[in-house]
């Protein structure tokens, strides 16, 4: 996993590597081998849950504020203009009964995508609505939260499942597109984000609750 600065979304397909634990053998890549293992503590699971809950709690406000700041026709025709059907969004096909590792991987893919998309949206909005301070602030905070979430998921995947690389697909870049398209793409991503984050929160809750 490489650090992906916000706003820069390389279209790189990351290789998912899974190292199976070998019974009776010392794990060469146990938790102590994870990057920043000193920070990968037991509270990371709870932190991850709180981060998802935080994103879930703020997603709708962010989307509403985004629509409000884009003006017409987005504020009145959001259902039509913001329909995410036509855009790429990582599949989140997990439920409460899914394996925990599977959920973690899906989460990683989702928030890696979201982090990149939110970075793009923030960049576009700084250009299109530089005076929308609250929106920009919320976009910044959400992006930062997703960054933190990715950091925690990396810790969990590595520490618990020895997974330290996940293949992530990112969406199309809005660079070079028209302002309307930029707004629309952001609107579509955020709408989908609102939907998926709620699901993720619900799915993740039993998995991350203290056992």
């Amino acid at each position: 996993m490489k650090f992906v600065p916000a706003g820069v979304v390389p279209f790189v397909a990351l290789l998912l590597l899974q190292r199976r634990p070998v019974a009776g053998r010392a794990l060469l890549l146990s938790g102590s081998g994870c990057p920043g293992h000193g920070l990968c503590r037991s509270n990371v699971q709870e932190q991850t849950r709180r981060q998802v809950a935080l994103l879930n709690a703020t997603a709708q406000e962010l989307f509403s504020l985004y629509l409000k700041c884009q003006g017409e026709p987005f504020s009145s025709e959001s259902d039509k203009l913001c329909n995410p059907a036509g855009i790429f969004f990582p599949a989140f096909r997990v439920n409460r009964t899914s394996e925990r590792k599977e959920v973690m991987v899906a989460m990683y893919k989702l928030f890696a995508f979201l982090n990149a998309s939110l970075g793009n949206i923030t960049r576009d909005q700084e250009e299109l609505n530089p005076m929308a301070k609250e929106l920009l602030e919320r976009l910044h905070n959400t992006t930062k939260t997703t960054r933190g979430l990715i950091s925690n998921l990396t810790c969990l995947l590595c520490k618990n499942y020895n997974i330290f690389q996940v293949d992530v697909r990112y969406g199309d870049s809005s660079k070079g597109k028209s302002a309307f398209k930029k707004k629309q793409q952001g609107c579509q991503v955020l709408r989908k984000y609102v939907q998926v984050i709620g699901l993720a929160a619900r799915v993740l809750l039993p998995h991350l609750s203290p056992s």
């Binding site: 996993m1 490489k2 650090f3 994870c34 990057p35 920043g36 293992h37 000193g38 920070l39 990968c40 503590r41 509270n43 990371v44 932190q47 991850t48 709180r50 981060q51 809950a53 935080l54 879930n56 709690a57 703020t58 602030e137 919320r138 905070n141 930062k144 939260t145 960054r147 933190g148 979430l149 950091s151 925690n152 990396t154 810790c155």
Partner: protein, 919 residues
Amino acid sequence: MCSMFSRWNWVACGFYLVLNICSPDGGLVQSCGHIIPESPVLALGSNFTALCILNESCLDFGNIYASQIIWKIKNKLVPKEQYREINRTVSSVTFNDTSSLATPLTCNILADGQIEQNIYGITVTVGLAPEKPKNLSCIVHQESVLTYVMNCTWNPGRHTFLDTQFRLRHSWPEEIFPDCIPKDVNNSCTITDIQFFVNTEIWVEATNALGKAESDPLVVDPIDIVKPLSPQNVSVSSGVLPTVLQLCWVNWISDAVMMLKFNIRYRIVGETNWMEVPSEDTASTRTSFIVQGLRPYTEYAFSIRCMKEDGVGYWSDWSEEKTGMTTEAQPSKGPPIWRIIDTSHSPAFWTVHLLWKALKPFEANGVILQYEVTIRDKSSPSSPVKKYNVTSTNHTLQLREGTYEVTLVARNSVGSSPPSVLLIPASNSKAPVKNLRTLPKHDKLWVGWTAPNSYVLKYVIEWCLVSSSSDCIIEWQIALGGVQGVDLKGIKPFKCYLITVYPLYADGQGSGQSVKAYLKQDRPSKGPTVQTKKVGKAEAVLTWNHLTVEEQNGFIRNYTILYKTIDGNETVVTVDPSKTEYTLSSLTSDTLYTVRMMASTDNGSRTGPDFTFTTQKFGKGEIEAIVVPVCLAFLLIVLLGVLFCFNKRDLIKKHIWPIVPDPSKSNIAQWSPQVPAKHNFSSKDQTYPEGSFTDVSVVEIEADDKKSFSEQDLKPFDLLKKEKSTSEGHSSGIGGSSCMSSPRQSVSDSDEGDTTQNTSSTVQYSTVVLNGYRDQTPVQVFSRSESTQPLLDSEERSEDHAGGADSTAQRQQYFRQNGGQDETNTDRPCFERTKQITHANEGDLVGFVQLQISGQSSQPLGLGMEKNTQEAAVSNVLQTCTEGQTVRPETVEENPLSVDEMPKSYLPQTVRQGGYMPQ
């Protein structure tokens, strides 16, 4: 390096310098050498070696070699022991301790002629490597709903003397964030980009030229070190109940970020003590809370703070205070009531002043609109109940003596208070409290008592400030029957209070017990002024006035009298404070004492002004004891003397006041050979009536005494006669006419006249008659004279002489009169003198010839007769004498025989000074 060269060398040197200056690689000036290392930064206390490397060109041109190099620190030469010549172009210097280094370190050449030339210099910086930063701690401050900043502080360690950079770093497992560089400080920095719910590693790096140091990392989830903003928009609203208020507020942090717990504190407006809602009631996130158990109709102030629900992190600041007021409720109790009964007008009719205290706010539970007073006459139950609605807190009634029950109720907008009942008995006949006492407790005065044996409903405690100038204004309070002590508030220190406690029974009232008390005592503000009431020889009665109660500042425990003499030790006497008089005893007589008086309380003393008094020299009765016996003794002696004199009166009269025969009736003329002279006297008798001469004595001189009048003695009279004949024409001057008219004339001028005159005014003279009278045996007889002329010494002597030499019996016969009068008036005109004499002897002495005879001379009686015939001449002589040529009596006395030596012109020599010539 170019000095001491020859002229050619000077030219070459100049050329060389030009080349150096203009050389393309050396810039403007090219040095002949350089030092390595260039401007080093050295650790303090380490060793250091520098090399000075000379250019080859300089070697060839200027004959400069490494052996000539000298090193200097500033301008101080480095000892050559520290040099080392590595080769002919390189010299090194070594310092074992860089603390001895300073800037600049220069490499110099000692050229020919010992002229020192600088080759190169470097700046040496000495310092310390940074220490590891310690005590790193961070706190996340919430600045707005979505904005958080993390401020970290640390201990930067020792001063390094170098430019040291500190940077605060933080990272996630795979991500290192931009450093936070402190501005203007080296011990704190604020990170603005933080993310909750991620373990973040935070550390501090300190870097300078000598090294780098890192603090121990701090790993923390920023959410755990948040200090949130305090709740905002706090509002307070009253509920349905008068004892609750509802608080509402807004949290700055969403629940998704952080669940909060709260502290709610509140206080009654005007009070300082806060009360707090139990923390367990506010341990979860909320935006409102109902505070219960409040007082009705009371304004409260509220404040809230919050922190992370699990208690990890920091409490926010307290929110701004918001106030709210509970609603009214009916008064919770009746007002305390008391009475003061004035029976001064008539014992049978009372003026009853009912007093009650306004309910405290927490008792009134609202605004008291009015009080209802009900009076029941218990003495006559049939009497109608009287009701009064009063808005003040007192009411005055005129009641007949008896037992009354007073009921008081307070009303507000919600309802009435429970009634307060006061029984006013006809007399306070019940048992009083016992053992009434007081005890100061900080700023309160505790009053305690022992309850009577009977059950007491409550106690009324009255107190008032005792003053010498105003009446005692009574304050009071009520205590429940179960208590045996109360704290009196509002008591001033150093003031005397009279405290009275009345027990109130269900059926009456006990008599009051009183005590005086101070909350705090001080020494008196002034000392007593002492003075004496009576002072004796060995005791003194001192009096003083009591200090006024305002001056006492406490209970006067005793008075102390301090007294002393000027040089004696001070004596101290302690006196009971109830006394105002004291007698000092055992004092020393006729001694000045200083006394002062000191009044003492439990907390000190104050001395009054000094007072001085002097004890008497004699005690009472001592003078009387001396004087009375003396007087008695004197009187006794006088009495005895009188008795003695009375018994011996004949003898005394015989000796002191003999019967003097009247010369005018004398028969001497019948047998005296000097009849004519006598006859002359007789002729004068016709002018002056008989009896005027009772003081005249006639002295008989024996015939053989005549021999004493020698020729020598008579010579002056001859001269006198001559003088008179020759100077008769001159006698008509001042002395002439006036003196002639004078019955007597002074012939002497003497200073002794003063003494003589003083003793002569009332002395009477006697003349001794030596011869027998008639046919009687001649005895010495003293004839008393009525003259006031003073006795003269010479006369006394002549008397003595006459008395003591009666055997030689040179009998002299003369008249004396006012001998000294003129001696004091010799400067006066004769007229004056004559006049004085005339006044003194007028009626008695006028016409008598006065003759004074010197003790050495005697003047026969016949001469006197002759003198009468020469009256005018004598007067002239006397006039001359008054002009200052008088024979001094001293001369006469010291040289009794010098009469012969006297100038012949002074007449008469036989006349003694102060005497009178017969006229």
